[in-house]
C-alpha cells in the first residue's frame, strides 16, 4: 500500500465518498434554487460563494484527503487562499475608495 492504509480503511473512505457525493448533489440543487430568490448582487454573490465554499470544502477535505493530510500542505493552501481573497477584495476596496466606477479615471 502507498501510505499504510488497510483495506478496511479504504472501505470506510468509500462510504464517506458516497456521502459527500450525495451532499454535493443536494448542494447543487440548493445553489440553483437560491438563484431563483432574485436577491440584489452583493447578497446574491455572498450566498453563492458561501454555498460554493461548502461544496469546495467537501471536495478538498474528503476527495483530496485534506482532512488527514500533513500540516505543510494545509498551511500552504491557507496562505494561497488568503492571497486569493486579497486579490478579490482589493478590487472591491479600490472601487469603494474611489467612490465610483472603476472604469472612470
Amino acid at each position: 500500500m502507498a501510505e499504510g492504509h488497510s483495506i478496511e480503511d479504504i472501505r470506510k473512505h468509500v462510504r464517506v465518498y458516497m456521502m459527500v457525493f450525495g451532499a454535493l448533489a443536494v448542494l447543487t440543487v440548493v445553489t440553483v434554487g437560491v438563484s431563483y430568490l432574485d436577491l440584489p448582487f452583493a447578497p446574491a454573490l455572498t450566498l453563492a460563494l458561501v454555498i460554493a465554499s461548502v461544496k469546495a470544502g467537501l471536495v478538498a477535505l474528503y476527495f483530496m484527503h485534506l482532512v488527514s493530510e500533513k500540516k505543510v500542505i494545509f498551511w500552504m493552501l491557507a496562505l494561497t487562499f488568503a492571497f486569493f481573497l486579497a486579490l478579490i477584495l482589493l478590487f472591491i476596496a479600490a472601487k469603494n475608495g474611489h467612490g465610483g466606477s472603476v472604469l472612470v479615471p
Binding site: M1, A2, I7, I10, T31, A52, F63, M64, I73, F83
Partner: protein, 205 residues
C-alpha cells in the same frame, strides 16, 4: 538508480515529493483562476447593468444568454467524475486493477461528456453571433470557461495516459503507480473545484 521520495515520505516535508509538487502547482492554478475571477468582479462592478447591451439588445440577467440547465448538467457531470476518479484510486488501494480501469474509464468518459455539453453551449452562442469580442460579459465568460475547458482537456490526456500505456507501471512499481493516480486525482478534483465556483458566479448571479 532510484528516484528518491517517489513512495517513501521525505522527512522534512512529511509527504512524498510528487504530492508537495502537485499541491504547489494547484496553488499557482488557484492564483491563475483567481486573477480571472477578480477580473470578472472588476468588470461587473464597473457597470450598472450586467450582462448589459449585446448586439443592440439589453440583457439584465445572465440566464437570458447562457443555459442554466446545461450548466447544472455539467456541474453534476464533473462532480460525478470526481467521485469516479477517487474511486479509481481507492480501487488500486484495494488491489483491484480491473475496478481501477472501470472507474478511470468512467472519469474520462464523463470528462468528454462535459466537453460535448460545452460544445453545444458555445455552438449556440456562435450561431447567435455572440463572440468573445462582442461584450465584457461574453469576453470574461469565454475566457473563464475556455481556460477551464482547456484544463479538462489536459486532464483527459493525463487520465488517458494512466488508463492506457501508463498503466504498465502497476506491474513494475505498484506503490509509485498508486501515487501517480493520487496526484492525477488531485489535479482532477481541482478542475472540478474551479467549476464549482464558476457555475454560480457566471451563470446564476
Amino acid at each position: 538508480m532510484q528516484i528518491p521520495y517517489t513512495t517513501t515520505i521525505r522527512p522534512d516535508t512529511g509527504v512524498y515529493n510528487a504530492k508537495l509538487g502537485v499541491w504547489l502547482f494547484l496553488a499557482s492554478e488557484i492564483m491563475l483562476f483567481g486573477g480571472l475571477f477578480s477580473a470578472y468582479v472588476f468588470l461587473r462592478m464597473g457597470v450598472p447593468v450586467w450582462p448589459g447591451e449585446i448586439n443592440g439588445h439589453l440583457y439584465t440577467s445572465a440566464a437570458e444568454i447562457v443555459s442554466i440547465p446545461l450548466a447544472t448538467l455539467n456541474t453534476m457531470i464533473l462532480i460525478a467524475s470526481s467521485v469516479t476518479m477517487v474511486m479509481s484510486w481507492a480501487s488500486l488501494m484495494m488491489d483491484n486493477f480491473a475496478r481501477y480501469r472501470l472507474y478511470m474509464g468512467a472519469t474520462i468518459l464523463l470528462a468528454f461528456g462535459f466537453l460535448v455539453v460545452k460544445a453545444f453551449e458555445y455552438g449556440s452562442k456562435f450561431d447567435h453571433g455572440y463572440f468573445p469580442a462582442e461584450s465584457n460579459f461574453l469576453g470574461i465568460y469565454f475566457t473563464l470557461t475556455g481556460l477551464h475547458a482547456l484544463h479538462v482537456v489536459g486532464g483527459i490526456i493525463v487520465n488517458g495516459y494512466f488508463f492506457g500505456p501508463g498503466a504498465k507501471m502497476w506491474k513494475t512499481d505498484r506503490a509509485r503507480f498508486i501515487n501517480r493516480i493520487e496526484i492525477a486525482g488531485l489535479y482532477w478534483h481541482f478542475v472540478d473545484l474551479v467549476w464549482i465556483f464558476l457555475f454560480p458566479t457566471i451563470y446564476l448571479i
